[in-house]
């Protein structure tokens, strides 16, 4: 088992005091902190081999290209796919938009998504439907925070062109049965896109085993810098898709009249890429692989179980999502009766505790929960039970300040 006690020491940001208190960072679902090894990898890239990739014939460009492609291979192995199925993008949002715009939708096609999606897995599909006349169907959530799979099965038909579903809900923490969802969708020949923003950083992902056509995730939630993300796409599907952005690097030949394009992944990587970010993402994956993704998941499961138990004892708290840590990632959203999430977050901040407050970019789900906004605590490898204890104590202070 990995030593999670020493892991915290790699995250220099966590050494500081906030308002005189030990920093308790419980907002990793928004963005993760970065270990010094990842920051160092980006620094070393810039200090030793920085040059534009796949362009120039000189030592630095060779080295930079090698490092960039090496990272692509690491990402591919990380989710059990092939290098030419890995497209580097900015983040999950861009990855989903790339797929949405690259696929060919027609009137009468149907796209199925769910109520527990982040806006980035709803809005692009709404726009595609508006443009093409395709129809969007949204699978509801059940009171226990799981997807209504019966409704999903009813929605599926030969008209279903694509199913877009989140691996792990960024609000409810629900881990969706994506393999089963994919199996059901495939019976009707539908494509499946999985939003892995809250999945890939926290558990072993095997896209081959899941059988999905697309899997999208962000580097910045996975110990890597901002501005680097990944879209996995099955090779045979990527080759049929239209490019999303046009320009340098993605072309084969350009004349005054017309242009031809490279194959995937270059076809989808127009312009100078964030290669330093990609290299740092490779370092982040190395860091996680050293711990082992199974250990990451076990650690977070244990914390989630502990937090659910402690938090549920607080009077007038409402916790959203599954109560069973086996089907729940390290994300716990809650509300305290009479306390607005912004006030809760602000008072917790005075204790050095960082949580998310607001609609968490999931407004349709908020409506379903009957909440305007929520408080959300989320965990990662550098959190421990002390952080949960601090949160529980902080919430008592919230009640005191707000006279609840």
């Amino acid at each position: 088992m990995a030593d999670f006690f020493t892991i915290r020491a790699d995250f220099l940001i966590l050494k500081q005091k906030i308002n005189g208190k030990r920093l308790v960072y419980l907002d990793s679902a928004a963005t993760s902190q970065k270990p010094k090894q990842v920051i160092e990898a980006e620094k070393v890239f810039y200090e030793t081999i920085n040059a534009n990739v796949a362009r120039s014939i000189h030592y630095l460009s060779e080295k930079a290209t090698e490092a960039y492609e090496n990272s692509r291979k690491k990402v591919a192995d990380f989710i059990n796919s092939d290098s030419d199925e890995i497209i580097f993008v900015r983040n999950t949002t861009e990855a989903i938009n790339l797929a949405a715009n690259g696929l060919d939708f027609k009137k009468d096609d149907e796209i199925i998504t769910t109520l527990m999606e982040h806006h980035s897995n709803i809005v692009p599909w709404q726009i595609i439907c508006k443009k093409t006349g395709a129809k969007l169907k949204i699978v509801d959530t059940l009171p226990d925070g799981q997807l209504d799979l019966k409704q999903f099965e009813k929605f599926l038909s030969s008209k279903t062109k694509l199913v877009a579903v989140t691996h792990v809900s960024n609000v409810l923490g629900t881990i969706n049965p994506v393999k089963e969802i994919t199996r059901l969708a495939k019976k009707f020949g539908a494509l499946v896109l999985i939003d892995g923003a809250q999945g890939a950083p926290h558990m072993k992902v095997d896209v081959n085993d899941i059988g999905c056509d697309f899997y999208a995730f962000s580097g910045h939630k996975l110990l890597a810098p901002t501005g680097i993300g990944v879209l996995f796409g099955k090779k045979e599907i990527l080759d049929k898709m239209q490019p999303f952005l046009y320009g340098g690097h993605m072309i084969k030949k350009v004349t005054k009249e017309s242009s031809t394009f490279m194959d995937a992944p270059e076809r989808f990587e127009a312009g100078t890429a964030n290669f330093a970010g990609a290299v740092a993402l490779g370092a982040a994956i190395d860091y996680l692989e050293k711990i082992g993704m199974e250990n990451v998941r076990e650690h977070e499961k244990e914390l989630t179980r502990y937090a659910l138990e402690k938090l549920s004892k607080i009077k007038d708290i409402e916790i959203y999502g599954p109560k069973n840590a086996e089907i729940r990632g390290g994300v716990i959203s809650f509300n305290i009766k009479g306390a607005h999430p912004h006030d809760v977050a602000q008072i917790l901040d005075s204790e050095g505790i960082a949580i998310r407050s607001g609609h968490a970019c999931a407004m349709p789900l908020m409506q379903r929960l009957g909440a305007e906004s929520i408080c959300r605590a989320s965990f990662y490898i550098y959190n421990d039970k002390k952080d949960v204890d601090a949160l529980v104590k902080g919430l008592e202070k919230v009640k005191g300040v707000l006279k609840l």
């Binding site: 308002n19 607005h340 999430p341 912004h342 006030d343 602000q346 008072i347 901040d349 005075s350 407050s357 607001g358 609609h359 407004m363 908020m366 305007e372 906004s373 300040v401 707000l402 006279k403």
Partner: protein, 126 residues
């Protein structure tokens, strides 16, 4: 310290605002909305001879947005329409009397935005 904003008066007004409610047949009303949190505040105005004769607010939100709206209503009662139209963001922060950090500015100003909307959309010659 960040907790200064939860001064006694803010909490008291949050829990029992003086001016919460709606006005039937208001001369002007408008709602504004903070997309960051879903909070909304609606302001209702009654105007007589260019002066505010009654003002109420409704809606939901955090302690800051609710207390600020309540304080704004108390202030508005002593003002003319012209004076209110000239009210700046800083005036609202000064009225609140607590230190507001950048992330909470929208909370503090939500009531004022709604008030501005009402003054603009007034359904009679206010």
């Amino acid at each position: 310290m960040t907790l200064d904003i939860y001064a006694e008066e803010i909490i008291d007004r949050f829990k029992s605002p003086h001016n919460f409610g709606k006005i039937d047949k208001a001369d002007a009303q408008a709602m504004d909305y903070n997309p960051a949190c879903g909070d909304e505040v609606e302001i209702f105005l009654k105007v007589k001879d260019g002066k505010i004769s009654d003002v109420r607010f409704a809606g939901r939100g955090c302690a800051i947005s609710q207390a600020a709206s309540d304080i704004l209503c108390d202030c508005a009662k002593t003002k003319t329409v012209a004076e209110l139209k000239n009210m700046r963001d800083e005036d609202m922060i000064n009225l609140l009397g607590v230190k507001i950090t950048g992330t909470r500015l929208k909370c503090a100003l939500l009531g004022l935005w709604a008030l501005r909307g009402a003054l603009k959309n007034g359904n009679r010659n206010i």
